[in-house]
């Protein structure tokens, strides 16, 4: 009878530790992933976003308007970033995602207020992401009551008592019912494409290297550009199939509105797919084997979910997190997809989301071509 041998068991434990020590990428994952997650969840992600960009459309300044805006600012939810000339400009700013809120004081607002005509103050909200807007909208109601109480004293006390002497109309645009899936499902397109495109190209090239077939491929008269582009074309098709599946589900299962053009969406998606394939190729020239390619993909994937505005409001994150998020193509792609489907964005409004993707693609492609080993050295 051979019993459990402690020395044999210990031999295996030692061997595992030695191998773990040599595998730098796994080691980096063990240490790096928890740190990144802690930092992102602990500091970057905020489900009660504050300091949301807000614009004002105002034709006249009065003590009351100043006081109301000051109260909005005091609430912490609104950050005034622009003063816009008219309603048209306001809609454009909302469509482009430059601002989340527009506070619109109609002409003669103050005069009507003083006459007791109960004028209406309009707050327009980009409600694409219900989570980003809801707390701020709730704060508006509270704030209105308190401003009314504070400002209308003395001769105006009659205005301050009872119901507020003005109306606040909150106009939720793009996702008026505040349905989460209208925001999540289009965003999911970015997540799914990032994951599959980066990982599959990463694997496709490291697989050749791991199995030794790369040497054979390189000894044949193919040019690097033929090899790289030839290898990624099938994945472009896979990406387009995935988009189609998600779009069908969005339309018929989740009833996401399709305000904009689906054709435009496919074109934008091609840019995004191309950018991700370049990332995959670059990772594959860093990774030594298929396992490392998968691990590196996870590293790249995480910020693409957490700080791209997919799960948590982008505007609610601190500046440094927004800066990192602004370097990830998924951030722009999700903005573009939501812009097309929910807001009906056209090329003009999409351009601010498209050029960063193209720039990212060019930078990564340059890096990929430099690092791609045409020769084995």
């Amino acid at each position: 009878m051979d019993h459990f041998s402690f020395s044999r068991w210990w031999a295996i434990v030692l061997k595992e530790f030695l191998q773990l020590k040599r595998d730098r990428v796994t080691f980096a994952m063990i240490v790096g992933l928890p740190i990144i997650q802690l930092l992102l969840f602990g500091y970057a992600i905020n489900s009660d976003p504050k300091h949301l960009p807000t614009a004002v459309v105002i034709s006249e300044q009065s003590e009351f308007t100043r006081s109301y805006l000051a109260a909005m600012k005091m609430s912490g939810y609104f950050e005034f970033v622009a003063e816009l000339p008219n309603e048209q400009a306001a809609r454009a700013a909302l469509a482009q995602g430059k601002v989340q809120f527009v506070v619109n004081f109609p002409t003669d607002f103050t005069r009507k207020l003083l006459r007791g005509e109960r004028p209406a103050l309009l707050i327009e909200v980009d409600a694409t992401d219900p989570m980003a807007a809801s707390a701020a909208i709730a704060s508006v109601r509270e704030l209105t009551a308190s401003v009314a109480k504070k400002d209308f004293k003395g001769v105006l006390a009659s205005l301050g008592s009872g119901a507020p002497p003005f109306d606040v109309r909150v106009h939720k645009l793009y996702n008026p019912e505040g349905l989460t899936q209208h925001n999540i499902v289009p965003g999911l397109m970015g997540v799914i494409l990032t994951m599959t495109m980066v990982m599959m190209t990463g694997l496709a090239i490291t697989r050749e290297r791991e199995r030794g077939t790369m040497e054979n491929l390189l000894s044949m008269p193919g040019k690097p550009i033929e090899v790289i582009t030839g290898k990624i074309v099938p994945y472009v098709f896979i990406g387009l199939i995935q988009i189609t599946i998600i779009l069908l589900a969005a339309r018929y299962l989740f009833e996401v509105p399709f305000v904009g053009s689906v054709a435009v969406l496919y074109v934008v998606a091609l840019f995004f797919i191309a950018a991700n394939l370049m990332v995959g190729i670059t990772l594959s020239s860093i990774a030594k084997n298929q396992l490392q390619a998968v691990q590196l993909t996870i590293f790249y994937f995480m910020p693409s979910i957490l700080i791209s505005g997919f799960m948590f409001p982008f505007q609610g994150m601190p500046q440094w997190a927004q800066a990192i998020g602004s370097m990830i193509p998924a951030t722009y792609f999700m903005r573009a997809v939501r812009g097309i489907l929910l807001k009906g964005n056209s090329w003009v409004e999409l351009w601010p989301s498209i050029w960063p993707m193209l720039m990212f693609m060019v930078v990564v492609m340059t890096f990929a071509v430099i690092t791609y080993r045409k020769t084995l050295d």
């Binding site: 199995r211 040497e215 054979n216 000894s219 044949m220 084995l376 050295d377």
Partner: protein, 314 residues
């Protein structure tokens, strides 16, 4: 060799150097192979054979040195070289998840062959694999994989074959058939550079080049290499061979002792000293000694022992 092939060698490289990190893998290698010749490329493991072959076919760029392969510059014209060279990698490097036909078809397309289908059919016929052409390459046995690999790298009718240990792990019958094929190719004027560890294969080559630790140690025909080292070998037979070996080891004049079946081959550069050492050691024993032919293996082990190991202790 006629003068034409002397002027137009298949391979002519001079002063090739390659470093990987701080390892000097190929050290000032100069090598020449004539057309229509089988050049055996020998050397211990890690001696830089594979790296040298990769530099010759343009897969690796040498750190320094120059050379031509089939009349093309190995640094600048690797595309031209790749089109005319068939390179068989040390490890089976065709796609195991493709069928035999799909593999051949892919290779034919990469070389832009005009009559692709016919060429593939011909190869399958020649290999006797027509019936199994839809089988996955990964399911073939070692010998069949090697035949498929040779057929695939011959598909585009190259002028030069670079074969990196093509017969490692292949049984003797398959090896013999493989060599018959190589002779047939050489007879058709195809130049072949083949690296190997097998002595019987080395003896089959027209010319040999021996490298150790990245340096070319000897070249010529098998006989020329044997003669050039001026070694004397005695075969010692007796009852307790390990004891004899232990006694002889370290004796002045004894450089190398190797067991060959029931005899010990004792080799030295200094015939007189070896003679004296053997006579001295034999006193009072029942050993039997007789002069033996110095073989290629004796010479190679001698070369290996005398070459300096520039990697330090391994």
């Amino acid at each position: 060799m006629n003068s034409q092939s002397e002027d137009d060698p298949a391979i002519d490289v001079r002063g090739l150097n390659k470093h990987f990190g701080d390892k000097h893998v190929v050290n000032d290698l100069s090598l020449r192979a004539n057309r229509g010749e089988i050049l055996g490329f020998l050397g211990p493991n890690g001696s830089g054979k594979t790296t040298s072959i990769r530099m010759m076919c343009g897969l690796l760029t040498p750190d320094s040195g120059s050379g031509i392969c089939l009349g093309y510059d190995i640094r600048r014209e690797s595309e031209q070289i790749k089109r005319r060279v068939g390179y068989m990698t040390q490890r089976f490097s065709f796609w195991e998840d493709l069928t035999i036909r799909e593999n051949l078809d892919f290779v034919a397309r990469m070389y832009k062959m005009a009559s692709r289908r016919e060429a593939v059919d011909q190869v399958l016929e020649g290999l006797n694999l027509t019936a199994r052409s839809t089988q996955l390459a990964g399911s073939l046995s070692g010998g069949w994989k090697q035949r498929l690999a040779l057929a695939a790298c011959m598909l585009h009718k190259p002028e030069l074959l670079l074969l990196d240990e093509p017969t490692a792990g292949v049984d003797p019958k398959a090896r013999r058939e493989f060599w018959e094929e190589l002779y047939a190719l050489a007879a058709r004027g195809i130049s072949i550079l083949v690296s190997t560890h097998y002595m019987d294969e080395a003896e089959r080559c027209h010319k040999l080049a021996y490298i150790a630790y990245g340096k070319l140690m000897a070249r010529g025909t098998a006989q020329e290499i044997i003669d050039s080292q001026g070694l004397t070998t005695w075969a010692v037979t007796g009852r307790d061979l390990p004891a004899i070996a232990a006694k002889l080891r370290g004796e002045p004049g004894v450089e190398q002792i190797a067991a060959f079946g029931s005899a010990l081959h004792v080799t030295s550069r200094d015939a007189t000293a070896l003679d004296a050492a053997l006579r001295h050691a034999m006193i009072g024993t029942s050993w039997h000694i007789e002069p033996a032919q110095t073989g290629l293996e004796d010479v190679f082990i001698h070369l290996m022992n005398t070459s300096s190991d520039n990697y330090g202790a391994r």
